[in-house]
């Protein structure tokens, strides 16, 4: 009953906001929106996912928005200048789409208190800087389930970009999924120390395969790993966007980042004066952190796997969606045998961002 009321309420709220939107926009000028990209979008990976989000914004708002994009902005002093330039050009909301833009975004935001800033994947907020992120790790859990059912050698090769909490929680979620179906399999991790370097990622994939891994997973951006898997008869998962075009026989599925709904929501909030940074400027609750249930993470078609595996994967997917699967529920033990939390408890978001250990099922230890 309560749920039903909630639905009704959100429906009313939605129609009200749509109405409000129509009314305000019949008079308003187009909202100027700025995007800062780390690389050129190309047709796969991190920035391309943002580009798709941007296209959804264009489709949704049409002439009601005017979008400026700057590509290839290195994370450093150049970013400060570029963001300020976008602010000066009169953009009302600016999305900075890489972690390294955190300090530059905050710096410029201080100078332009009337402009809204949206920093993607960061953890620092201020009065006019909000942060948004995706629960990438939810997709990793499903990857783990599929990997555990598909592996023959019980060796999983994982290529990580940097040993940061976001990547580590992905590895741990993968391990949880893996061990939920296969207690004998384990994960080896190679850190590429880069988000995008096809040569290095390919080398790492080759080494994983040479070391006996038959399922590869990645938290880096290029499709190089999948291509190496395809060539060597191994299997793997796509990153950020569907990569089956690069590896039609090797991609099991891809976790797709779906930024569009978030962008649209925030721009709508701006248009009707409801834009906010969440609750409290320096608390995790202020972060918009959406996953599978809020459609910010999408799972592409299950392929190259038997039907019963696909069925299990589908179960995991709907389990996460309806909340019946809690990925980091206790008892949790790290890979040295130390207890993280006892049974009956679940790690909260703050604890996820503090992860600097591997859970059981992952070999080695976190560098640094």
């Amino acid at each position: 009953m309560l749920k039903f009321c909630k639905h009704i309420f959100s429906l009313v709220a939605l129609s009200a906001s749509v109405l409000f939107f129509i009314v305000t926009n019949s008079f308003a000028n187009p909202t100027k929106v700025g995007f800062v990209y780390l690389t050129t979008p190309g047709d796969h990976g991190w920035t391309y996912a943002h580009e798709l989000g941007k296209q959804m914004v264009e489709k949704r708002f049409g002439d009601d928005v005017k979008i400026s994009v700057v590509e290839n902005v290195p994370e450093g002093p150049d970013a400060t200048r570029v963001i300020r330039e976008l602010a000066k050009q009169g953009n009302e909301i600016i999305f900075t789409t890489s972690f390294g833009y955190m300090e530059p975004t905050l710096k410029v935001a201080k100078e332009f208190p009337n402009i809204k800033f949206e920093h993607i994947t960061g953890y620092k907020r201020s009065n006019n800087v909000a942060t948004g992120n995706i629960r990438f790790y939810e997709g990793r859990y499903i990857q783990g389930v599929v990997a555990g059912l598909m592996t023959k050698t019980n060796k999983i090769g994982y290529i990580g970009a940097y040993p940061i909490a976001e990547v580590i929680m992905g590895i741990n979620a993968f391990a949880q999924g893996l061990r939920s179906v296969n207690k004998d399999a384990s994960i080896s991790v190679i850190w590429a120390n880069t988000w995008y370097d096809p040569v290095k990622e390919a080398d790492a994939a080759k080494v994983h395969i040479a070391e006996g891994a038959d399922i590869l997973a990645q938290h880096t951006d290029s499709p190089a790993m999948l291509q190496i898997a395809e060539k060597n008869g191994a299997l793997g998962f796509g990153q950020s966007t569907d990569m089956s075009a690069f590896a039609p026989k090797a991609q099991l599925f891809a976790s797709e980042n779906n930024w569009g709904p978030y962008y649209i929501k925030k721009i709508e909030q701006l248009k009707n004066g409801k834009w906010n940074t969440g609750d409290g400027p320096d608390h995790w609750a202020g972060n918009e952190w959406g996953g599978i249930s809020s459609d910010m993470l999408k799972i592409s078609k299950f392929q190259n796997m038997p039907d019963e595996v696909a069925k299990k994967a589908q179960e995991a997917l709907s389990g996460i969606k309806n909340g019946s699967i809690k990925i980091f529920a206790g008892p949790l033990v790290d890979n040295t045998g130390k207890e993280i939390i006892p049974a009956g408890k679940t790690l909260d978001d703050g604890a996820l961002w503090g992860m600097n250990y591997y859970l059981k099922g992952v070999n080695g230890k976190v560098p640094g």
Partner: protein
Amino acid sequence: MESLILTIIATSIPLLMAATGELITEKSGVLNLGVEGMMLSGAVGALGAVLWLENPYFGIIAGAMSGLFMACIFSVFTINFMTNQVATGLGLTIFATGLTGLAGAPLVGKTIPSLPKIEIFLLSDIPFIGNILFKQDLVAYLSICIIILITYFLKYSKPGIILRAVGDNHVSAHSVGYPVKKIRWYATCFGGMCAGIGGAYIPLVLTPHWSEGMTAGRGWIALALVVFASWIPWRIIVGALIFGGITIAQLVGQARGWPIPSQILSMMPYLATIIALTIISSRISKNNSVVPASLGKPFFDTQ
């Protein structure tokens, strides 16, 4: 183990090709710091050609031609206009990084077929060794052939001896009547083509992609390899394998959980080069015949 060795060999081949070319260039007395740029243009040229013509073998040719193009620019300035070779070489690398970035922008995200492996009749059936040595691609065989050929060329052939004479003392070579500038042009162009093929190998075999600056410093390593090998061709093979080996060892170490930070392992090739340079240089001061004596000096043609 076998596939690890194959990976190491594949990683070494771009270095091997580029360093071999640079060795000939340096033997003629030209220090070409533009190898990195030539490799980059080789890579982008190969990708473009294969996308267009859909045959990876054209990639090798296109890579060589792109490298040659860069070598021509370098030669015009350093040999004809007698500009400083160090600065021109650096300029060439910066120029090529820009040019390839611009030319490569439409290629981002495109992917190409790889260079096929060629099995050598019977030999490829030898267990272990056959798989490693006789199931390689064309460029791998080519690089070994070139090493053998230039060893012979430098030691026994007349043009090879003239080349060395030009590199050792361009003034006396000129007075004997050898066309110093022409010979340096040829040597630089040969070096450029080799570097171009080395660069082409990266998209053709290692990973079928374009990304800005994808040679990631291999050209500089090739330069260091020449010194590391003290200008003796076969030693380049050893050096290239050591370099490739360390690159891969760093990854294997991580996968197996060795407790050494990956950055420290990645430093090893560079530190090894410095140490090798030091050892070679201290030996050179006793016996000055290893380094081409005119290396890096512009030649002024008195007419």
